[in-house]
Symmetry: C2
Subunit: 312 residues, 2 copies
């Protein structure tokens, strides 16, 4: 069974549970509207040695930062501000006190940078592998929250940075080249906390998520949730230096933003974004009627059977 | 370094982070007061194969229930109602779809029993071991929340059930007797959700927590947080059938409640509790001035060097 297959079976099994005011599985975060004005948002990620990282190819400090970053990215991807995390660590006997202290230094430094509290957690032994679980909590004005289901026909599809670098870096690491700039990028993702909140406050931004499994997979989540189709212009997809177009479309663990915005307001939005962040937005396609994802090259439809990155 | 030593070093490192309205590490749960009347509470636990359970000695269904139960217990231990959870599962290739489906059945059944939503999570592969991470969210009236720091001198110390059975069951399992009633109890803890909420609503109840590392260890958390001492009457500690006094005092994973209540109101509280739940409260000692934990047998102080259960 695939990860998504298993998640769907859990959704079906748990459909009869009380919601207790929580909007659950389906977006980057669950949402709890705690007042007429504001909500808390919740997300969690598990990182396992040998699957998500190799102990010899990453420093403890980098791993502490990355474990936090991937969760903060999910909060930012809904337009919210991260406010608190819970951290659980399972360490084998040979992960020394020094390793744990360095991990915490990386976790603490990124928490401090984004003003996020550490409010709880759990520490245990493990038999062999290091396992890290982080739950992040965000806070947002109710009318700033961006959901995958809000894309509208004719919306422009944007991404916030050249893509594929993280995947190219992962290949460098797997090939034993752990010191390349792209390997460094893969180990040190930079969640778009300020950009996510800024886009959250813009009403012309409709659907948003972060790119964790590659556009080719992630965009389908927006399409499914919004009951829409999409067309992507391959010649407009920004490709990171050292990466291929395929990596830009299918590479996982980018932690950049993918969003749709009203066609009429899109140009002004891109100008305001560039003025604010000194970096452009990249329009890569459009939302359409229907349910299909189409690829275009110089205006002509092409066939691609590329799908996203699969961890599971 | 011990688990508590590591947690203390994390507390020190992270003392400079913004709290963002969250009351953090130190109680069973973190607390976020979202209105003048109510709070959300947060707790998380990690269960690792070979450390917290043995795959051959527990069914997937039981493990699904236990992973949830230990978290709900932390919520109940502060007087709150569990409302939602996030669940992350890391499974090696040989944990089949059938195993995962049975695990979810156990998790779902207990969620349904206590009216708890499943709002998110993560599923990944692991190299070898099964790892389960649960984050639970509770909700309570602000004036119902019980903290470890609220014990007062002269308070009566209560527990809600005979103790030591879970530890005796663990020893049965480790000895290869996985089918005994106590082994069954160890695998199927029964979190005291209704009792915790009922005690939360009683103002004469001061400090409360759940027994996860044994009274001898857990009571010290209440003493330290409240800056008090305590005396325990060994002849009043209720010992589960098949367990020893040492197991009742030092055995972990009981998930029963340990709390203190005003001396003047204690008898009435115990009567009301027994009328409501058809099971007694067990007064086992008193809170004192000072900082020492003393043990008494038939009114005479005795020396004991027993400490609590250590996972780490």
């Amino acid at each position: 069974m695939t990860e998504f297959g298993f998640i769907n079976s859990i959704k079906t099994l748990c459909a009869d549970l009380h919601k207790n005011g929580f909007e659950g599985i389906g977006d980057d975060c669950a949402v709890f509207e705690f007042s007429e004005r504001e909500s808390l948002l919740f997300t969690t990620d598990l990182l396992c040695e040998g699957v998500h990282f190799l102990r010899h190819a990453t420093s403890a400090r980098e791993l502490g930062g990355k474990a936090l970053a991937v969760n903060l990215s999910d909060i930012a991807a809904m337009g919210a501000r991260p406010v608190a995390t819970l951290l659980s660590l399972s360490l084998p006997a040979e992960a020394t006190e020094e390793w744990a202290a360095e991990f915490m230094e990386g976790y603490h430094a990124l928490s401090k940078r984004y003003g996020v509290a550490l409010i709880g957690g759990d520490t245990t032994r493990s038999q062999r592998d290091i396992v890290i679980s982080v739950t992040a909590i965000g806070r947002a004005a109710n009318d700033h929250i961006k959901r995958r289901s809000e894309a509208e026909t004719r919306d422009v599809i944007f991404t916030t940075a050249p893509l594929g670098g993280s995947d190219a870096g992962l290949h460098d690491i797997l090939d034993g080249h752990i010191d390349t700039p792209l390997a460094d990028l893969h180990r040190n993702p930079c969640p778009e906390i300020e950009k996510g909140q800024w886009l959250g406050a813009r009403h012309e931004v409709h659907a948003m998520m972060d790119i964790s499994d590659g556009i080719a997979s992630d965009l389908r989540h927006i399409m499914t949730a919004s009951h829409k189709g999409a067309v992507i212009d391959l010649d407009r997809v920004p490709v990171a230096e050292g990466a291929t177009l395929k990596q830009a479309l299918c590479g996982g663990e980018e932690y950049r933003l993918l969003f749709t915005a009203s066609f009429e307001a899109a140009e002004q939005l891109a100008r305001d974004f560039e003025r604010r962040f000194r970096t452009p937005l990249y329009p890569i396609g459009r939302i359409t009627e229907g349910a299909q994802l189409k690829w275009r090259e110089h205006g002509t439809e092409v066939e691609l059977d590329w799908t996203g990155f699969t961890h599971y």
